[in-house]
């Protein structure tokens, strides 16, 4: 088996297991009340982490580039209560413009 196929099989199996572990362990039941209160907070904490990482992650450490301008445009659109499509278009449009003007 080539290196590529070993990577595909091992990474694929690991990812399938990671995604499915919660389902196997929790067995499709609603969580106990106390645990449930914590799981509800997974979404805000993980989404906030994703926003930070996907805006600022560089090849090594933090990189400030056109994504920051794009996210700033999204913030403005959100403050103006624009629909999601407009928020996404503003982020892409401003990031693209910043890159065209020379931002990394």
């Amino acid at each position: 088996m080539s290196e590529a196929w070993i990577a595909v099989v091992v990474i694929g199996a690991a990812t399938v297991a990671l995604k499915g572990a919660g389902t196997v362990v929790l067995g499709g039941r609603t969580l106990p009340e106390r645990f449930d209160g914590v799981v509800v907070l997974l979404a805000p904490s993980l989404l906030a982490g994703l926003v930070v990482v996907q805006t600022l992650e560089g090849d090594s450490g933090i990189a400030l580039d056109a994504r920051v301008a794009g996210l700033a445009a999204a913030v403005v659109a959100l403050v103006l209560r624009a629909p999601l499509l407009v928020v996404l278009a503003a982020a892409a449009g401003v990031a693209a413009a910043a890159r065209a003007l020379g931002a990394a």
């Binding site: 290196e3 590529a4 990577a7 694929g12 990812t15 990671l18 904490s45 982490g49 805006t55 982020a91």
Partner: protein, 241 residues
């Protein structure tokens, strides 16, 4: 309050396909697909990029497409293909990808209570819970099952279709970053996060998660800042009785 009661009634594990509750709500499936459509367009463009990178990494044609179908996670696939393309060790490629996908442990736990049907069915549907489909399926602290399935299928079509185009030589459109498509992903997560910040516990958890990720980003290996952000839930505090 009423929604909570309904959830409790639904909580009995359903093993039979004959029960109506196993069937997916088609309106929710369509809503999920619709909600994720603009991001699916961006995911398709990045799928093409991944296909091109994978080909340059000598992964051939079938392996990258199989990877997009099974691993179905952009950042991990880019990371492992980059390591292989630069002539790095196979183990390094695998470790990088697994670290990046550790967050799926948390997403899997978050989505599990919403899934219905046999274990095989629930496991299959859990595979469709990727960052973007899971994010658009959020409602009142729950994941809406039909929405995560509809959005996940839409993303899978785009991501795998894009990969196929990339490996067979497509790339005429150039770098998706030139169109700012990379900025759409944090914008989506922010827009969905804002909708969750109505109560103080969620706000504390979000602030905690964001700060943890920011603090770790300068030195932690890729993937670690996001999974560590999950510790933000500890800052949420107790639920008011």
């Amino acid at each position: 309050m009423e929604a909570k009661t309904i959830m409790a009634d639904d909580a009995v594990p359903v093993e039979s396909g004959a029960d109506g509750r196993v069937a997916l709500d088609r309106a929710e499936v369509a809503a999920g697909a619709r909600a994720v459509l603009p991001i699916a367009v961006a995911a398709t463009a990045f799928g093409v990029s991944f296909g091109i990178l994978a080909r340059e990494a000598g992964m051939g044609i079938a392996a990258p497409i199989v990877m997009s179908l099974t691993t179905f996670a952009g950042s991990a696939q880019f990371a492992s293909a980059s390591v292989l393309e630069q002539g790095g060790a196979l183990v390094a490629a695998i470790v990088a990808a697994v670290l990046l996908n550790l967050r799926y442990l948390a997403i899997g736990i978050s989505v599990a209570p919403s899934l219905r049907g046999s274990l095989a069915r629930r496991l299959a549907e859990a595979q469709l819970a990727v960052d973007e489909s899971w994010a658009v399926a959020q409602e009142a602290g729950q994941v809406v099952r039909g929405r995560v399935v509809g959005a996940g299928l839409m993303l899978m079509v785009g991501w795998c279709g894009g990969t196929a185009v990339g490996v067979v030589g497509g790339g005429a459109l150039g770098d998706p970053a030139d169109y700012g498509l990379d900025a759409m992903f944090p914008a989506l997560f922010l827009a969905l996060l804002v909708g969750l910040l109505k109560d103080a516990r969620a706000r504390r958890a979000a602030l905690g998660g964001g700060l943890i990720a920011l603090a770790l980003l300068p030195f932690a290996p890729p993937g670690v800042p996001v999974i560590a952000a999950v510790a933000g839930v500890l800052l949420g505090g107790r639920r008011p009785a």
